[in-house]
Amino acid sequence: MAARKPVRWHIGVFLAPAVLVYTAIMIIPLFGTLNLSLFNKGADGVVFVGLANFATLFGDPRWSDAFWNALGNNAWFFVVHMLVQNPIGIALAAILSTPRLRMAAFYRTAIFIPTILSFVIVGFVWKLILSPIWGIAPGMLDFVGLKGLFAPWLGKEEYALTTLALISVWQFVGIPMMLIYAALLSIPDEVLEAAEMDGITGMSQFWKIKLPLILPSIGIISILTFVGNFNAFDLIYVAQGALAGPDFSTDILGTFLYRTFFGFQLQLGDAYMGSAIAGAMFGIILLGVCVYLFGIQTRLRRYQF
């Protein structure tokens, strides 16, 4: 009689720690929050209200105006990252991976260092640099004769969000750079040599050979940027406070959620509406990730070396 297939208990054992930890600190709170968003305070205690909180969030202009404002700002925050951070990251990686560049390790480290800094430090340092009173920005612009271009950027509705987005770009440009750099290094030399044999060198080699090969990495970076930006909160909170001034021009979903959920100054926290906002954020991010996974990633062509 053939031996019965042994129970492969080790799979369960090895998965257990990760599954348990992830369930305890991610999955249960996530569903707890989604559950909480279906309740609200009624006349006598907490009552189940179904989707009424979402109806308020999207239907009552007092909530929906703030929500759409935050979503719009968040979208712009993301656009700036996609248009500035990721192209610069790719360009830096391409430059760093050229064999002729001296001191590549130094540049790589220098550019990556801001990424490991705390938001608190980054927010504080940049606020000081850009400060119209003590900052070095006005002085430096004066030095090159462009003092007229200086404005208290963080205090003006029209510039504040873009300024903060660029500060965030400065901080995190190291991440796409590192990922692309790794992808570029993993391109086998044979491919590049073959390209050279065919006379494709320099810039055209990057556009025609390397870029198609690193497209999957760029896709991953895009989705990481998307998730990171729509969950962003820290930098805005540190630089502009929970009211995301001036006049809510830097209010993103994270700060809107914080004010609602935890309260602010005299505003008491409202865990139910806060959960509804968190639920909406979860939905937006889920939607974005799904569009990427099913719409883009499956169509990317992969090359096996």
Binding site: R62, W63, K127, L130, S131, P132, I133, W134, P138, A151, P152, W153, L154, G155, K156, E157, Q240, G241, L243, G245, P246, D247, F248, R259, F264, Q265, L266, Q267, L268, D270
Partner: protein, 416 residues
């Protein structure tokens, strides 16, 4: 093993019980961790000397965590006997949940005016649940050396105020006024609620607003915004991005002449500034008008309803309500003024100046704090935003007032 452990536990409980029969220890919950040494070295020893048998422990939590930590301790039944009270809704909520005891019967409550008690009363004023400790007063602190050098007299009316600012601006040595709009709250707290009481006549207007007899769009409530709109020209370059610490530093470094202030700045400014300072109350519209000041009730102390040592705690609370405590507290923390009706002798000249206004002006509290900031949108937060916008000139005074009124009317029945 288990039996030994149980026995040990039992013995220790009994011993602890026996100890407390002789010496009762009261624990104070507070967010004022800055004041720990003052409590330990000055206030508590003074109380313990007079009341043998009662020991007091001051156990503060970080300010930002205080409300949350206190709520969970109270629910779990592990909170201290005495609870330091935030003003208005945060403490009212605790009283309504039965965590704070009604203290209306305390004899020392008679030492406080109705305005002083309003921050820790039920809306109908029937029950008072915390003994008022201190308030902060708003006004303007100025650089006396700068005023003397430029030959400016301390302004009392609006015209004099702006004339003084014009003169400072024309001279160019000093930034006329140190304030920024980056953090927003100064615009509301040190701007709108500082100068506003002169227009809405302090308590009269504040209470009328709560009753729904006045609206934020009335002339008396729009006028402070119209004044704030004029401030823009006197603030430093790039004030839009100037933060609260920036403003403090500008003033204490002697680069700005006038600072719209709260009295809590006094001790910090005393150590930082190398020049003579003075203070003046918000200027009135015409000479001879009654002046009104924002004398905002900020801190009080109440009794945990579940305290096992309620009798001793009440002894302590009676003492907190006494003139003796008031003198001690006000001198240890200049800028936090006693709410006690008995006048308190203070050593600090700047603090004396601030508190002297109580004699000649009518006191009120910040208009947005009682009842009116319970709903969505939150009136206090909206006022921050509106005041900052008005100072920057991105929103007209009338528009800002209308927005606040619409927001308030959307949830507050008497204003509908």
């Amino acid at each position: 093993m288990t039996r030994t452990l149980r026995l040990a536990l039992l013995t220790s409980t009994m011993l602890a019980g026996a100890a407390s029969a002789q010496d009762v220890t009261l624990t104070i919950e507070s967010w004022r961790n800055d004041d720990l040494t003052i409590w330990q070295d000055t206030i508590i020893p003074a109380f313990e000397a007079q009341n043998p048998g009662i020991k007091v422990v001051f156990a503060p939590t970080a300010p930002a965590e205080y409300n949350a930590a206190l709520n969970s301790k109270l629910s779990a039944g592990s909170a201290g006997d005495l609870i330091t009270c935030r003003p208005f809704d945060a403490s009212l909520e605790l009283y309504n949940q039965g965590h704070l005891a009604d203290l209306s019967g305390l004899a020392s409550m008679a030492n406080f005016s109705s305005v002083a008690k309003s921050a820790w009363q039920t809306d109908d004023g029937a029950a008072t649940f915390c003994v008022p400790m201190a308030s902060v007063i708003h006004g303007f602190i100025y650089n006396k050396d700068a005023f003397d050098a430029l030959g400016i007299a301390v302004p009392t009316t609006n015209d004099e105020f702006f004339a003084a600012l014009d003169k400072i601006k024309a001279d160019g040595t000093y930034i006329p006024m140190a304030m920024g709009t980056n953090d927003q709250w100064e615009a509301a707290t040190m701007g709108y609620n500082n100068i506003g009481p002169n227009y809405w006549k302090g308590e009269e207007g504040r209470l009328a607003l709560i009753k729904g007899e006045q609206k934020l769009t009335d002339a008396a409530w729009v006028a402070p915004f119209e004044q704030l709109a004029k401030w823009k020209d006197y603030l430093g370059d790039g004030f839009e991005a100037q933060t609260y610490p920036d403003s403090q530093n500008l003033f204490t470094l002697g680069r700005a002449a006038v600072y719209p202030a709260g009295s809590w700045e006094i001790s910090g400014f005393n150590t930082q500034a190398a020049f003579k300072m003075g203070a003046f109350p918000p200027p009135v519209q015409a000479a001879g008008d009654t002046c009104y000041i924002s004398d905002h009730t900020d801190i009080a102390i109440g009794l945990n309803a579940k305290s096992a040592n309620a009798e001793q705690a009440k002894v302590f609370l009676e003492w907190v309500g006494s003139p003796e405590f008031a003198t001690m507290y006000a001198n240890a923390l200049p800028g936090f003024f006693s709410l006690n009706s008995t006048p308190v002798e203070m050593q600090d000249p700047l603090a004396q100046e601030f508190v002297s206004w109580r004699g000649k002006c009518q006191s009120t509290i910040r208009s947005t704090y009682q009842i009116l900031s319970r709903g969505t949108p939150n009136l206090e937060n909206e006022t921050w935003n509106a005041s900052a916008n008005v100072i920057k000139g991105t929103e007209a005074p009338a528009d800002a007032a209308k927005r606040l009124q619409d927001g308030l009317a959307s949830w507050y029945a008497p204003q509908k």
